[in-house]
Amino acid sequence: MALYVLRRLVSTIAVMAMVGIFIFLLLRLAPGDPAAIIAGDTATPEMIANIREKLGLNEPLPVQFAHWAHSILSGNLGISIFTGRPVLELISQRLEPTISLAILTMILSVTIGVTFGILAAWRAGGLVDRTLTALATLGFSVPVFVVGFFLIYFFAIRTRWLPVQGYQPIDHGFGPWLVQLILPTMTLALVYVALIARMTRASMLEVLSEDYMRTAAAKGVSSYSMLFHHALKNAGVPILTVIGLSFAYLISGVVITETVFNIPGVGRLVVDAINNRDYPVIQGVLILASGMYVLINLAVDLAYTLIDPRIRY
């Protein structure tokens, strides 16, 4: 087990190195000169050249990369070109809203998605199944920003039940924090409910046709226990896998949701950074997002052992 974790961590480092090189090259080759943007409308070419010099944008690519890699490894994600603040500070300032949104969304979509998936599989082909399949398809086919608008319209403008936008840090109180996040969470969760419900349904259908489910029925186990204990635990591995893999999709959804609901999270930070060509920020966020993805999937792999005794590392 420890050896496995160690081996996985080593390969994680290799993956992260790939990501690093990829991200660095990608953004340095992009057009759009941050110096020109900083300089503004009235800038003369000399001013732009001066700014480039200051930002180290004139150095050859390998030199820029070496500087960058060195500082990343020493825990320094660099300084934002635009705001002049450390990238790490900018990101950590934005981390709480994004993580709050991601965790709430995951809790909501796992609870609802798994329940729906189980219900659909239980009565496969029945009314519940068909309704849920239709809902799941809808969840996949309506863009997040449209869903967001409708939720804002009905729950915030029409009824005034919930706030339109913004974020309250959790240390201002759990209530305000939750209230602010209800609509964004619902918006973002729709797709994941659909995704997890579909995976749960498929996985459950497979499990429900297994011989041991018949054995359980022959013992007199209740339907509830059949579904939620005997079947769910067996169906757990693929469901868990989807949850792990969908983390990357979740971040994609977060970018749009944060824009719609004006949540000052990492997603907004990176969209702004891309528009501004604020390289250090983009790189910092991408590195961080990939790192989290890799770690979450490592955690998921380890969690398999808790669910399925046949899996040992």
């Binding site: 041991y212 359980a216 013992k219 007199g220 005997h230 046949r310």
Partner: protein
């Protein structure tokens, strides 16, 4: 249906005109075409026949474990202690399953839940049907494992199914089925998937436990040899109907249905320890999707005459406790 009742034995299970259909996308399969039989307290009833003849469907119909969306019991009654199981609510049915009627299955490798320990699965059955505490149930599980002669039950109780051999798993299945001392145990080909030597041990175990507990057993198999060793009475099934019904001695002495005779000819010689799959009867089993005119065995029957292809024979008494569904039963028995 005239069935001669043996005096002194209570009828535990009385199945009457049981009809079960399977629904495919374009067809209906008449898996059971109206069968009737009885199981008496403490007896061992063998049910034999080729694959697909409806043995397992009968068992699943009794416990109402058929797949909900594709199969339905469309007619008949299943009286258990006089109450029709088909009319029970799901909740009442659950109180019967595993408690008063238990079942063990053909595939020990896949019939245990891989993510729970064996002890947990046995204890679960106990906890569902008695008010036993968790620890009492686990104690019962250990006791049951000892009863089915699993070595080191203290350790094995915490094993997962994948940590056990096939024979051991089937023992665990039996332990689970018998944990609540059921009145009827339905054993659906419990030894088919096992090695020959293990098979004999498991058979021995079932017979011993039956004697020990007094449970009635409905023993489903395709192996007449097994029937001969374990059962008192036998039902021979063919194409969703009962072909012949008799005591074991009568059946082997005077088989009255051509199909039974065919089966007997293909029984492997157990003294040589050889094992062969049934049957070696020429021809194929008819499709149950098509309507069958006449006797369903007629196309394969060496005794078939004109009437056999026009009318469907019904089960009729041809001796004390002996019935067969054949127009020429007497000739078959005599010949």
């Amino acid at each position: 249906m005239q069935m001669q009742k043996l005096a002194g034995n209570d009828v535990l299970l009385d199945v009457r005109d049981l009809e079960t259909h399977f629904y495919g996308e374009e067809s209906v399969t008449r898996a059971l075409g109206g069968i009737s039989f009885q199981v008496r307290s403490g007896e061992t009833l063998g049910v034999v026949g080729e694959s697909g003849c409806g043995k397992s469907v009968t068992a699943l119909s009794i416990l109402r474990l058929l797949p909900k969306l594709t199969a339905r019991t469309v007619g008949g009654e299943i009286r258990f202690h006089g109450r029709d199981l088909l009319k029970l609510s799901p909740r009442e049915m659950r109180q019967i399953r595993g408690n008063r009627i238990a079942m063990i299955f053909q595939e020990p490798m896949t019939s245990l839940n891989p993510v729970y320990t064996v002890g947990h699965q046995i204890a679960e059955a106990v906890q569902i049907h008695t008010k036993a505490s968790r620890s009492d149930a686990m104690a019962k599980a250990r006791e049951m494992l000892r009863l089915v002669r699993i070595a080191d039950p203290e350790r094995r109780v915490n094993n997962y199914p994948h940590e056990m051999s096939g024979g051991m798993r089937q023992r665990a299945m039996i332990a689970m089925a018998l944990a609540c001392s059921p009145e009827l145990l339905i054993a659906d080909e419990p030894t088919t998937a096992l090695d020959v030597t293990i098979q004999a041990q498991i058979l021995r175990l079932i017979v011993d436990l039956k004697e020990h507990t007094g449970t009635a057993v409905m023993f489903i198999t395709h192996d007449l040899g097994v029937v001969a060793e374990t059962c008192q009475r036998v039902i021979v099934m063919y194409a969703g109907r009962i072909a012949e019904q008799a005591s074991v001695t009568d059946l082997f002495a005077r088989p009255a249905h051509p199909y039974t005779q065919g089966l007997m000819r293909s029984v492997p010689d157990r003294r040589h320890g050889r094992q062969r799959r049934l049957p070696e009867i020429p021809g194929i089993v008819p499709s149950l999707r098509e309507p069958i005119v006449g006797c369903s065995f007629a196309p394969r029957c060496p005794f078939a005459i004109g009437i056999c292809r026009e009318k469907t024979p019904t089960l009729r008494d041809i001796g004390p406790g002996h019935a067969a569904a054949c127009f020429r039963a007497e000739e078959v028995m005599g010949g």
